[in-house]
Symmetry: C2
Subunit: 324 residues, 2 copies
């Protein structure tokens, strides 16, 4: 199946699991975030990896749902920490229902993840999937903590940044693929190759996110976005610029980030001009492409169905080269 | 072993698992709460239930630690929701490290619970323990939500209140006992009896908490405590008074709870006098004792070692009749 078909299959399954339970104040927010129109990328990737070795998706669907629940749990809690007002263009859970509800509804989502994962019938697979997932979930928390820490730190190395996005984003994508493969009794080597594919595609995906924020909309619709710059985010563009810049320009860039009085448009303009003068975009693009090459290397070595490999490649292309 | 010996064994084990890991800002708060001098009641109960059927505690210790981690996770998140400044007489995690850290460090504790539980070697036991625990953890969240909901509700029935404390407190005590018994290969009937013992002892424990807050210190050191009254908590004392009171006294009691201008001592005095005029204390004490009778009924039917039953009974007595 292609990604749209898999998304339909997943969404039909997910709908049957709506949390229409008491206490309402705990579960209504769970249904709210789960129905906020996410792209279900992680669920689709899990199903794709599964389908590479087994056509009957029934056993994979609860696992796909578990991964989506976990992803949405992390969004609910991250949005509290970031004081975000919007998620997918709609009001965030804590902004709509209060911070306490955001905390507690998030907690119960995380516990339900384990309810779904512990439903795997095969003893060996259940144990292995729970191990992979638990290690991943710990790493996602660690990644979020590094992200929080980096905001306070004066300087962050590109290596530290890459570790942070690996933990915060890539490991869950990788785990989704690996869990799908384990469930479908894929060869051990393929499980590991899918994991590595996910890590590298996930890092490229996150680098693309940084690129799009500054350069995406600009090229696409002739208008600058630059939200990351306005929020003084230490993106890979910023860190690359700091690495390449003269001492004078480093302190200029730092000064702009520290200056609260600048108009948004002026700030975006000045910073982007600085990025351009050091050709930051192309160096970040080549870094992204290195991860893409590594991802496809792993993909090409897989022993699974060719058609599924092609779907995975298309999905990766969509993630990495998407324009919004 | 008696409860002090079991506590020592547990604490020695727990010390070896201190979270001296990176990122520090994520894990230091975990060590902080885990070393805040808790009574480790749930860990001790799990070990007691285990020891009733098996003397080698090695297999039970990681499970005892998992239950303590979960209990402390729930305290960290609850303290954020309650805006509590103190826990066990010391600064709460979020007050010391910030709300965001409280959320995230709590999350990683919950995930580590599963890391410990998924370490059980026997497939069947691992599955059963994960099922019992996950159901319990969901119920604890539901109980916390009811507690939050009840604060906003004008009237709460005693039945609803008992359901809330069952979910918020008793199910975890019951699950600790059942998990210990499952791990020790106890007969199925005994696992269930221990669970029921835990539910009833847990509810009695929580009722005793309400009693102590208003009557405990008063009788012990001649001084009123009454923190629950000052905070307008709908304890079982308050709810029993509302149930027994005339319509006139009901609205008087409601008025006192709604009045922010009253001096603390005056408020405690007036409310306690009202409680006394309806003999609320003795009716709550008999209700507590009904749960104690049920708890001991289950305990007496157990097929496990008599010495362990005696330890469990002593522990229950301590919990239910403790004076502070």
């Amino acid at each position: 199946m292609d990604s749209n078909e898999l998304k339909d299959v997943y969404q039909t399954y997910a709908k049957a699991f709506s949390f229409e339970k008491k206490p309402k104040n705990l579960y209504v927010p769970v249904d709210y975030i789960m129905n906020l129109g996410g792209k279900n990328i992680r669920a689709i990737l899990l199903l794709m990896a599964y389908e590479m070795y087994d056509d009957n998706l029934d056993n994979a669907l609860p696992l796909a749902h578990a991964i989506e629940l976990f992803h949405n749990f992390s969004l609910v809690h991250d949005d509290i920490m970031d004081e975000a007002l919007l998620r997918r263009g709609k009001t965030t859970v804590h902004h709509k229902y209060g911070i306490n509800t955001g905390i507690l509804s998030g907690d119960v989502m995380l516990i339900y993840v384990y309810k779904f994962l512990n439903g795997v019938k095969d003893d060996q697979k259940r144990k292995e999937i729970l191990d992979v997932f638990t290690q991943t979930a710990i790493e996602v928390c660690e990644g979020q903590q590094y992200d929080v820490d980096f905001e306070e730190q004066d300087m962050v190395s590109i290596e530290d940044y890459l570790l942070m996005i690996k933990l915060k984003t890539a490991v869950l994508i990788a785990a989704a693929l690996k869990i799908g493969a384990i469930m479908a009794s894929a060869p051990k080597d393929d499980c590991q190759l899918l994991y590595e594919f996910g890590i590298n595609a996930g890092i490229a995906f996150q680098i693309q996110d940084d690129l799009l924020d500054t350069y995406g909309a600009q090229e696409l619709i002739g208008k600058k976005s630059g939200g990351d710059i306005v929020q003084n985010k230490k993106t890979i563009l910023f860190l690359s610029a700091m690495q390449k810049a003269t001492v004078e320009d480093q302190s200029k860039l730092r000064g702009i980030y520290a200056n609260c009085d600048l108009l948004e448009a002026e700030k975006i303009d000045t910073v982007t001009t600085m990025f351009n003068s050091y050709d930051v975009k192309s160096s970040v693009v080549s870094r992204r492409d290195e991860y893409i090459v590594k991802a496809y290397d792993s993909l090409n070595k897989l022993k699974g169905k060719e058609a599924s490999k092609e779907s995975l490649k298309q999905m990766a292309e969509y993630l990495i080269r998407r324009e919004k």
